[in-house]
């Protein structure tokens, strides 16, 4: 009975949080189209969020391409199908592995960063100070950050995918005897719009979800340093979970429209 009560109360809290987050998202869509527009802060956030993640995404992409090729090659060799390597790697990286892995890395770095930053601003009354000085903190802090993550993640994913393919090419050029030109001709021959467009579109949703969760957790952070830690931690957990849900929906929708 006690366990049932605990489960019910946890489920209640979860659904209340979902409701609050939906309201938060609704407020974002309301505020994003109203003046004043915070272009300067948006550019600053785009630079911070994009630039800060560039190296991490690059390294992740490179290792991803390298490892995928190294581990897949022996299996393809058994069937004498090494020539299929560029096609296989490109489709798997562009369609699924690239966007999801890079978004997860991005969530770990950016959602926790935003959660902790806004959380500590809440705890130290900096958000209140902003509001009292006649500045809308939601517009200045939240709208700019969500827009920045939404715009930056697709660019980072494209960057990470290119680096991953380059990593894959390095293994192929070392293990087999394939030129740079031939490798990338095979990559582009294998790819279709149905692979690139839906994969790119879903990264906008990933970016939006990461920014939304990070800002929501930080903006409504409970008092104290424990609250800041929890905000950062739960921002990563919640946004990662949301990424998989969005990915599932994206694959489902892509299947309907592009017949994958």
């Amino acid at each position: 009975m006690l366990i049932l009560k605990k489960i019910t109360s946890k489920a209640n809290a979860f659904f209340i949080e979902i409701g609050e987050m939906s309201y938060f998202a609704g407020r974002f869509f309301k505020e994003v189209f109203t003046k004043p527009f915070e272009f300067k802060e948006l550019l600053k956030q785009c630079y911070n969020i994009g630039n800060r993640s560039l190296l991490l995404v690059g390294i992740t992409g490179f290792i991803m391409g390298l490892v995928l090729t190294l581990q897949t090659r022996p299996t393809l060799e058994e069937f004498g199908a090494e020539s299929w390597m560029p096609s296989m790697v490109s489709i798997s990286i562009i369609r699924e592995i690239g966007p999801v892995i890079i978004a997860l890395i991005f969530a770990g770095r950016i959602a926790s960063g935003i959660g902790a930053e806004l959380g500590s601003m809440r705890v130290t009354e900096q958000i209140d100070a902003m509001e009292v000085s006649g500045t809308n903190p939601f517009k200045y802090l939240v709208v700019t950050r969500i827009l920045a993550t939404t715009l930056m993640l697709p660019i980072l994913v494209i960057f990470g995918d290119v680096i991953a393919l380059y990593g894959s090419y390095i293994v192929e050029s070392l293990k087999g005897d394939v030129s740079f030109q031939l490798y990338f001709i095979k990559v582009f021959n294998a790819l279709e719009f149905g692979d690139i467009i839906p994969a790119t579109i879903k990264t906008f949703f990933f970016g939006f979800a990461i920014g939304l969760v990070g800002c929501f957790k930080g903006y409504y952070c409970k008092k104290g340093t424990v609250g800041v830690g929890l905000a950062a931690n739960s921002a990563v957990v919640f946004s990662s979970m949301l990424l998989f849900i969005i990915d599932f929906i994206a694959v489902f929708v892509t299947d309907i429209f592009f017949d994958i």
Binding site: E117, T124, E125, Q126, D128, A129, V132, S133, G134, T135
Partner: protein, 259 residues
Amino acid sequence: MRLQENIKNEEREVSPKKLMLEIKNLYKSFGDNHVMNGFSLQLFEGENLVIMGKSGSGKSVMIKCLVGLMEADSGQINIMDKDITKLTQRELDNLRTEIGFLFQGSALYDSMTVRENLEFPLRRHKEKFGDIGDTTALVTEALESVGLAYAINLMPAELSGGMKRRVALARTLILKPKIILYDEPTSGLDPITAKEIIELMLRIQKQYKTSSLIITHDVDCARVISDRMILLVDGINYAEGSFNDLATSNDEKVKAFFK
């Protein structure tokens, strides 16, 4: 029980001053916890009004309702003849530029330098102040008035508690507010720094001709700075009068504050 003390404000009797801020019957509850139970106050032009109360008595809730950070359950709040509950967000933001708020923990933006902290409110209100361009003169003037011109390029993390409080005060002054709200201005400071902050508050009031609402439980601060005091007990203005009136009161609850 509401104890009404004699209010001997001779100056007001001779020349009635302009009402800057008024709260009428403020009620605010958090669930079953009734924090404000019909609190009222009036702040007149050029006056230093001190609100004293125990920790958890609702002083901070009252001041947050006053600037719209919290919504009151009922009651009326007029600031410079404007009912803040009836203002649009933009009107409220414009009105907020007339009110300075010194937070208990200073609330400096820790990702910005002292200069950027002071420039921030200026740059946010171009409609009111125009496109200022080079803000150095204004920033320096505000910092000089708190004796910290040399700290212009420091980060908040490099400042001591007293310095942070001064910079926060400079940030409120840069908008030339007509009213300044102080939330525990001396809490967490050593007695010497606290005394310096109190002297600074008095000097600023003379220099900028502001009206001040000061929330504190520091008796020394109240003694030096107050023109009038209100004791906030159980969410109501339990007692009201000058510092001497209240300090010599025979009421047990009032006496407890001055022991």
